[in-house]
């Protein structure tokens, strides 16, 4: 297996994977969407709310805020020894919001949420949460917990997470007899004849329909299907690299459980 990073910035990553089958790449994709844990606000205790926004709408908005997550110092509430509703300091972070305005209307932003843990803060401080008219007040306590995308999409670490086959059409010069049948058959017109050679132009738009392979009478065209371009866009809670690493770890533990269960089944049968 070979991995090459094509593009990378704070929240995006695009890389090439060579030499693996589709099921593995797809398993990675599905784990990234549904099983890599992140932190999100789960319980909200509203002490006072005189704003025009309803309590439940506000709580829902709070839940959707992406929080910068520290996976090493927190554990999932399901495996935490406390087993309490609002969690302990191993499995939850408390946020408080205390906002009021006396003379003019104003917007309350996510940066006004005060966190217990300075590492766990909203990814962006400029998220408008609610608006207050003069004399109105909001006071609340919110509890953030680790969770998985399977439970609720607010715990999803990625927004766009896709892969596609990389178009790697190879033309064998020795076998090619320049009949130009492949050029005519290509639906995207990415094949061209240049200097007595068939060459690829603008190969990015190739959708791997394989019409060129079917049309070639001399088997001079090959497509390598085991090359994928993976594109991941993080919501901001984890870095895209971390998401991939966590996904691989989860896939590994899943495979380990399969191996151990199958081997125990074998033993039972022999007994």
């Amino acid at each position: 297996m070979e991995i090459k990073i094509l593009e990378k910035d704070v929240n995006h990553i695009r890389f090439l994977i060579k030499g693996v089958e589709t099921p593995i790449v797809n398993a990675l994709r599905r784990i990234m969407i549904a099983e890599v844990p992140t932190m999100a606000i789960e319980d909200v205790v509203i002490i006072e709310n005189s704003s025009p926004m309803k309590d439940e709408t506000l709580a829902h908005r709070l839940g959707l805020i992406p929080l910068k997550t520290d996976l090493d110092s927190y554990i999932l509430p399901a495996i935490c020894s406390c087993q309490s509703d609002l969690g302990c300091n191993k499995c939850s972070v408390t946020f408080t919001l205390d906002a009021e305005t006396t003379d003019s209307p104003r917007t309350v932003y996510s940066k006004e949420l005060k966190s217990d843990d300075l590492e766990i803060v909203p990814y962006s401080g400029d998220i408008p949460l609610l608006k207050l008219a003069s004399g109105q007040k909001v006071r609340l306590e919110a509890y953030a917990k680790l969770g998985r995308g399977t439970t609720h999409a607010k715990w999803q670490p990625v927004s766009a997470c896709t892969y596609r086959h990389s178009p790697t059409v190879r033309i064998d010069i020795e076998k090619c007899d320049l009949c130009e049948k492949c050029i005519k058959s290509c639906t995207k017109q990415i094949l061209k004849k240049e200097n007595k050679k068939i060459v690829l132009v603008n190969s990015d738009i190739c959708d791997l329909c394989e019409e060129c392979i079917k049309s070639c009478p001399t088997e001079g065209i090959q497509i390598n299907k085991q090359v994928y371009i993976f594109k991941i866009e993080s919501v901001g809670s984890l870095t895209p690299e971390r998401i991939v690493i966590e996904a691989v770890k989860i896939l590994n533990t899943k495979l380990d459980t399969i191996i151990s269960q199958v081997s125990s089944f074998k033993k039972e049968k022999t007994v």
Binding site: P52, M53, R61, S124, I127, P128, S134, S159, V235
Partner: protein
């Protein structure tokens, strides 16, 4: 009522870009250009911002008026 925190379809964070967008478009810039510069790439996220109307502004007027009357009483 207010701009949703995340995109309905893909889940990307969009609400932190709304105020910049609204301000710039109000000053006469072309929405397409502003969205491109704010790095809103997919059409699902673009429609979230493009089609949003902040109705709280209307609701707030009533709350403001009520507060004024309360003070004058």
């Amino acid at each position: 009522m207010m701009i949703p925190i995340r995109c309905f379809s893909c889940g990307a964070l969009i609400s932190n870009k709304w105020e910049k967008f609204a301000r710039r478009v109000k000053n006469g810039e072309i929405p397409k250009k502003v969205l491109d510069e704010l790095d809103v790439r997919r059409y699902c996220c673009r429609r979230m911002i493009l089609s949003n109307v902040d109705i709280v502004e209307e609701v707030l007027k009533y709350h403001e008026e009520a507060q004024k009357r309360r003070q004058n009483r």
